[in-house]
């Protein structure tokens, strides 16, 4: 009898997409992975909205604006298991280095003080448009917004770690965690 495929959804919030790229680094195993899983909502295919309840949701990146928070809550609602993938999702990562600095200073540095802009922005135009989402006061790791079931460390987590976690969740077998594949950088 054919087993029902595991449904996986992924999202990139305030991250660099490196975690998703690391998933691609499972190389030829990606061709066998597609026999085991169906990707639902994910930037790696073209599905924009959840079309069914998913078994596994994978989140890369933290929450730095209102849209990130909204997306994360949607994932929690639509996924049985939610994974924080990588340092940004787990603890904010590099984007969270802005925590503690007033957001106005960040904006001014980029759009008024920069050497290629300085003196050329006399009207002091700053990005400020209804089309742009609201920046949050600080960058939040995912588990501060919703409940997270698993954390995969690394920046990015090694491809082998991602693969072995997915394999364990799909088959129900215990996860293999050899020393070499768990890295924190």
């Amino acid at each position: 009898m054919e087993r029902k495929k595991t449904i996986v959804a992924t999202a990139s919030l305030a991250g660099c997409f490196g975690c998703h790229m690391s998933l691609l680094d499972i190389d030829e195993r990606i061709l066998s992975l597609i026999d085991l899983v169906d990707f639902n909502k994910s930037p790696i295919n073209d599905i924009k909205n959840f079309t069914e309840y998913c078994d596994i949701g994978i989140i890369e990146g933290s929450c730095c604006n209102s849209e990130n928070v909204h997306a994360l809550k949607e994932f929690r609602k639509n996924c049985r298991i939610l994974i924080s993938l990588g340092e940004c999702a787990i603890m904010g990562g590099v984007p969270a280095m802005r925590n503690g600095i007033p957001i106005r200073e960040c904006i001014e540095e980029a759009y008024m003080n920069s050497p290629s802009v300085k003196g050329h922005n006399p009207e002091m135009i700053l990005p400020n448009d209804p089309e742009l989402p609201m920046l949050l006061d600080r960058v939040y790791p995912c588990h501060e917004i919703v409940k997270i079931d698993y954390f995969l460390p690394g920046c990015p987590p090694r491809a082998d770690l991602i693969y072995s976690a997915l394999e364990a969740l799909i088959t129900g077998n215990e996860m293999k965690l050899p020393y070499e594949i768990v890295k924190y950088d």
Binding site: L24, D46, K48, P115, P127, E131, P156
Partner: protein
Amino acid sequence: MAQKITIEPVTRVEGHGKVTIHLDEEGNVVRSRLHIVEFRGFERFIQGRPYWEAPVLVQRLCGICPVSHHLAAAKALDVVVGAGTGHGLSHTAEKVRRLMHYAQIFQSHALHFFHLASPDLLFGVDADPKIRNIIGVARVNKGLAVQGVMMRKFGQELIQATAGKKIHGTGAIPGGVNKNLTEEERDAFTKGAAPMNPGAMVVWAEEAIDFFKQYYKKNREFIDTFSVFPSNHLSLVRKDGALDLYHGNIRAIDSEGKVILHDVDYQEYFNYIHEEVRSWSYMKFPYIAELGEADGWYRVGPLARLNTCTFIPTPLAQKEFEQYKANTIGKPNNMCMHTHYARLIELLHAAEVIRDLLNDPDLQGNELVRRGEKKHEGVGVIEAPRGTLFHHYRINDNDQIEMANLIVSTTNNNEPMNRAVNHVAKTMMTGKKEITEPMMNAVEVAIRAYDPCLSCATHALGQMPLEVSLFDADDQMIDRKKKG
């Protein structure tokens, strides 16, 4: 009734960019905008960090081509530690970095072609999104999909061998590199079982060009006329005018080939390139200062590079380059879809460079780092897969970063992408009260030709999701369509 249409190339909730199109009462396009909605603020939060952190820290803005940021930052800091630019480094350091960089170009261009372009070519741009991705390719042409996966793998493993990690490595440090390439590491590639060796990669790159040329023959009209508009072109070129993706001077030409920036030193980029801020996007708009905001904008990336350079310094790619140039009788190429063609010629060039470099005994040298008199400021520029990338740092007496400025490849293409969208909107939206499917596809194809990081990201395995909303004169939404 005047209308506004919103297109989100990436889903609203994960959005990195979106497009709005405004129509007047008669349904004419009055303006269109590509909004970039992501903001990190790194220019400020990097202040106070020790300068040697920059090469490992800044690459974490973009995991799609982290090697480019890693190397651009290292090059800027070469100047700070007194090693200077270009040949200031030891042969070993420069060549290890070059190998890392061309490996990145190779894997990135291969990823783009096999994961993104090949599904379009196999299934057509209007095909069902469910099959229009690498998974669909694997089902109808397993060989092609495997080839794509293996080419990326080859590049990523070379990056690992030189940078220490496939993504966010540590190999380049201010003034040089932290390791050479040992003979064993080298042999793993040069003596690798087929197809995982440099010779096989050159052959596959040639096959990719053939694949494209066949498609071009059958679809000439589409490739030659879609979203064509004149622009300036900018890139680094080597002293003798050769294509060089790691180091050179800035050259810019206009749409007819007249030189505007004549091989200027990038340490003074801020005298030649300025950026405009517009309130509706977090991405700035660079332009050549002398020409001003209205006329000074330019394209970067594969299309621009093959326009600015005089020749390609490897024989197979040079032969393809000559054929490619014949299409425009030697004039600059302003045809957006030819970017795919140019990208594949660069893929072949990268394969050749990798093959030749791997045989260079300098890679096993032991002089890794050079330092000289400390400076307080440095600029590093590199040709990333998607175009020219600028890094600029100033440090204080405590070695802390005081100022950082970046102009990334996709930012350089900001205005061209906006023009491309406008071009499509004008030709396809005028007089329409409803968003049509062909229009959605066309906007997607136009943006994608520039391979912006934001779309490349969403394209790793599939195609760009789109969302279009139609607004009337009072900004009330009257229609909304989604694709995918």
